[in-house]
Amino acid sequence: MSDPMAEIRASFFVECEELLEALQDGLQTLYDEMGDGETVNVVFRAVHSIKGGAGAFGLDTLVAFAHRFETALDLVRSGHLSASPDVLKLFFTCSDILTDLVREARDDIPHDPTRTDPILAELDTLLGATPADDVAEDDPIDFEVTTLSLDLDLDAPGETEDPTWDITFTPGPLLYANGNEPQFLFRALRDLGDLTVTCHDNDLPPLEALDCEHAHLGWTLRLTTPEGRGAIADAFDFVEGLCSLDIMRADDAPPPPADLPDLAELDDLAALSGETPDPEKPIPEPVRPTSETAPSPEPSPRPAPAAATPRATVRVDLDRIDRLVNLVGEIVINQAMLSQSVDAAGVPPNSPVRTGLEEFQQLTRDIQESVMMIRAQPVKSLFQRMSRIVREASAAIGKDVRLRTEGENTEVDKTVIERLADPLTHMIRNAVDHGLEPGDAREAAGKPREGTVQLTALHRSGRVVIEVADDGAGINRPKVLAKAIEKELIPADSQLTDSEIDNLLFLPGFSTADRISNLSGRGVGMDVVRNAIQALGGRVTIQSEPGQGTTFSISLPLTLAVLDGMVVRVARETLVVPLNAIFETLAVTPDDLRAFGPNTHVINIRDTFVPLIDLGAELGYRHPLQDYTGSVVLLIGQEDGLAAAVVVDAIEDQRQVVIKGLQEAYGRVPGIAAATILGDGQIALILDPIDLVAQASGHTQPAKPVSPQKIGVSS
């Protein structure tokens, strides 16, 4: 990073990301018909800034595309084009392409024009065709029809005569305070075409009454340019809101090609003098008084115009945050070790050491939470990526789909967000492809033709829940069941509940199945989705209502770095069970325990039977016990119900533990999610209860010695 240019370039691309996000946001607001004039401006400015930055780095493809996009947006901004859904869809595609182009520019990927060209053609159609009607409506004042046709061909080649514009420009005091300089604006305009500048000094007070921090001058400019209104407005982009600006077609623009001196003479405002036909000369003249009237570079107590910016943020290298997170994890472990040694030293309960330690404990917890919050990010960026997936998927299969999002500002650990992108993409595609019926079928079912996919994020009891809901036909359970039986995934005579049938979609075999057409169930790769989410410590559940739609809920931990766990002891080993997986704990009574088959037991929990799993035997630490009466069991389950009763030897503690990845150091261990370091410095494994139950379900044999399945890592 020694090259300063490379650094500037990198920060440009970071800014691009933010601008693209703002762009997406604005478009979505417009699409939801919630936008106002400012929304269009935001969208426009985002594209404009990207164009500007790209220009500075000579990213020509990006500039060219952004410019066309911007021109179209400007028509909307000026009211010449209404932001109809169709237009907005095109804009969405444009913003997707813009995103791609930014990425291409960043990674030096060669540009593939076949992707942009059709869109550019569409944009041109839009630019060329639509204004005709709109302009007529928008400008009802004395307007000659002949000029209209000239006005339209904004970008069209040919020898159309250049229209003339009257620009009234009156700077406000803030314009100067912000360091803007009308002279530069005029120069920018001069570059567009022939410019005549008239200065109005009517408001200029006598010298003794002059307040040098006020703006007293106004200008009338007459510009003859081949460019459209957008280009003129561009020049004033940076002083928007800081001046009063009025851009109008000169009413008297004559149909025959006019040359500037003539126009200048026609100018009725020119009576105010100060006007010269030579575009070069007048600029310095009227500008000179400006520098005298507004020479106040000194900081003024006026409210900063940047007050609109939401919050101050700092960009920090992610590595640094990770380092901080790690260090805080060390502190937590260290604190636990300290507590343990104080215990061992037999310090009396109310001694200063104890109270000090308790405060220390509180502080470490606070620090840890604060550090975790640094890593948290709103899911907005993720949702925006998904809206693109919806657009592309729906376009690919010709369905009309609208994505609604809710809870975009819900904050989740950055890593979770990153690793959620793939599974979520899959689920969204499934929802569009399989969940929603084709438009005709929807109409037949009395639903609006446009399908809806709802993406929701919310916090619920210490976890993040992300829901993907469609209003499609729901899961076709008979077909799913038939399919599963046909694939021999379940016995032919299985009697399954609705929720069990829905969960068949997550079976690995189901996904590899050739996709039977018209199977309205999902299941294409749903096992992959579930694995990915489980790897994040999350769970997926399905709710489906025939005819009403299907909802997939992903429930995720807030962070991947710490976890509230129950410390248990099994065969002289200490293990941590995530607290959120434990429904309750109880001691087994002989009444509860039933033998089930030759090798397994079930346990009766309020008239529901769940399998009994001996943790020590499952992990290969010891043989199954002869008698489980009196043993402590943890009832393990996930959102959709109880999964198993896990036998442990003793429950020792309940505490927050720092998660240490096992995968990097060793590899994946079945049934184990990660490791942690206990107060005594020993490593304890953190159980993945759901995975454990899933792995165990086939071969739990508490009645006879188990030969634990050896999973070789060397193979």
Partner: protein, 159 residues
């Protein structure tokens, strides 16, 4: 903390290199000293379920999880004295850091590449693939361990 590049830093060096020699099951082995991170005493390892028997488990190495491999078990050497092997050599192979449990650390030897000879061809001996070269020092045959072959391939390495 762990720099994967260090082990490769001295490639192209033709002069004598230093090797750490140690005892495993009564036999002499050595590894390139650049691959050694540290040597430490044994600690109670937390066993990993469903792992090969030569994986003793994981220990806490100043906040990181360090897998411990029983080298004698890995090399299929029958060892009767269980309690004797209490030295752990922390080695790095690329980004992968593992603790090797050995009987005792012997010495640091400077061996020039010329003194290393290829191991004899014994196709039936599986152990041969773990040894990349042999050398003689003070009448003892010292086997140069091939760390890459010893360390189990983790899922990540493939991905």
């Amino acid at each position: 903390m762990i720099d994967p590049d260090t082990a490769q830093d001295r490639t192209g060096d033709t002069a004598a290199r230093e090797y750490l020699s140690f005892l495993v099951g009564g036999q002499d082995y050595c590894i390139d000293i650049m691959q050694v991170r540290e040597i430490r005493g044994g600690a109670k390892a937390t066993p990993l379920p469903h792992s090969p028997s030569y994986m003793r488990g994981v220990i806490n190495l100043r906040g990181t999880v360090l897998p411990i491999m029983d080298l004698a078990g890995r090399l299929d050497l029958t060892v009767d004295t269980n309690g004797l092997r209490n030295v752990i050599i922390v080695v790095a192979n690329g980004a992968r850091v593992v603790g090797l449990m050995v009987d005792a650390v012997s010495d640091i030897l400077a061996i020039s590449p010329d003194d290393l000879q290829a191991p004899p061809d014994l196709p039936a001996d599986q152990q041969r693939s773990f040894i990349s070269a042999l050398t003689i020092k003070e009448n003892r045959m010292i086997r140069l361990l091939d760390l890459g072959a010893i360390l189990p391939v983790a899922d990540e390495d493939v991905a």
